[in-house]
């Protein structure tokens, strides 16, 4: 009887040990995913990428680029994916959430061209930029 009790005790201790380890790792992974895929990080990343793409572009070009992760995040946040890339004069703004305004979500470009940014409705994962002369 004693032996069975000890075995039970060892098993419980091991289970608690494993559960605690798993809980610890889960919290760590959740923290990493929340940091890497946060709205602010994605907004800043895409605003700068789009501004650089426009700076490198020539009139007559059409640039397609994948924004799957940002579009998914915008849908999660209840935002219309067709309105997440906004271009006003020579400033790109990427807005994935309705909450507040993040100054890092806007970035200016120096290339003086006319730009139309549209969601590619065939797959809803990409955006395309149409570059024209002003």
């Amino acid at each position: 009887m004693k032996k069975t009790g000890k075995r039970g005790n060892i098993l419980t201790e091991n289970i608690i040990f494993i559960v605690l380890n798993l809980a610890f790792l889960t919290i760590l992974l959740l923290f990493l995913f929340s940091k890497t895929g946060s709205v602010a990080v994605l907004e800043e990343k895409y605003a700068k990428q789009i501004a650089l793409m426009i700076d490198a572009a020539e009139p007559g070009m059409i640039i397609n680029f994948n924004m799957k992760d940002a579009i998914e995040k915008a849908v999660e946040e209840g935002r219309n994916p067709a309105n997440i890339v906004l271009i006003n004069e020579n400033v790109v703004t990427v807005k994935l959430s309705e909450k507040g305004s993040n100054p890092e979500s806007s970035y200016s470009f120096f290339n003086d061209v006319q730009i139309n940014a549209n969601l590619d409705t065939t797959n809803n994962k990409e955006y395309f930029l149409v570059i024209n002369k002003k």
Binding site: N21, D55, E104, F110, D112
Partner: protein, 170 residues
């Protein structure tokens, strides 16, 4: 009995150490992630490169000098003629302080005689170019060789500077 007790105590100490190590590893990962994602992406080097490219494309085409560059009318509206716009977003007081600067020096390749000098943007930014530090404007120098239709050789030196410190370096 004594050895069994010792073994159990040793196991408990090991599991405490295990959690201490786990905590240290997690703290290191959290610190590295927070410091990496807490800093903004620095896009200024690419931007300065693209600005220099834009000026180079404006003054030359396939290695030949764009002769319009030498005309006074072209120089008066250099930025407009090269399709460059130095307007920026209204953040961190950027509208009051220009964030870009370009300088172009065109000289005769053999004699070194200066033919043309263009300075556009915030001239104050040039003074930061020889300094070292993270929160300073990014400077980029480029030189290219061009010829005109009469095979005269020219050297074009382009300096492009991007400030935008608040959004790219912290």
């Amino acid at each position: 009995m004594i050895s069994l007790k010792n073994k159990k105590a040793a196991e408990k100490i090991i599991s405490v150490y295990w959690f201490v190590i786990l905590f240290i590893v997690a703290a290191a990962i959290v610190y590295m992630t927070a410091s990496f994602y807490g800093k903004p992406y620095d896009a200024r080097k690419i931007e300065a490169d693209l600005l220099a490219d834009k000026v180079a494309k404006c003054i030359s085409e396939a290695g030949y000098l764009n002769e319009e560059v030498l005309e006074q009318q072209f120089l008066e509206n250099f930025l407009g003629n090269c399709n460059i716009n130095f307007n920026v977003e209204d953040a961190y007081g950027w509208r009051e302080q220009e964030q870009y600067y370009i300088e172009l020096n065109l000289s005769d390749f053999s004699s070194g005689e200066k033919i043309l000098e263009i300075k556009e943007g915030n001239t104050k930014l040039k003074s930061f170019c020889n300094l070292k530090g993270d929160n300073l404007p990014v400077c980029l120098e480029r030189s290219l060789y061009v010829i005109n239709k009469d095979n005269n050789q020219y050297r074009a030196d382009i300096l492009s500077i991007i400030r935008k410190t608040e959004k790219n370096a912290q």
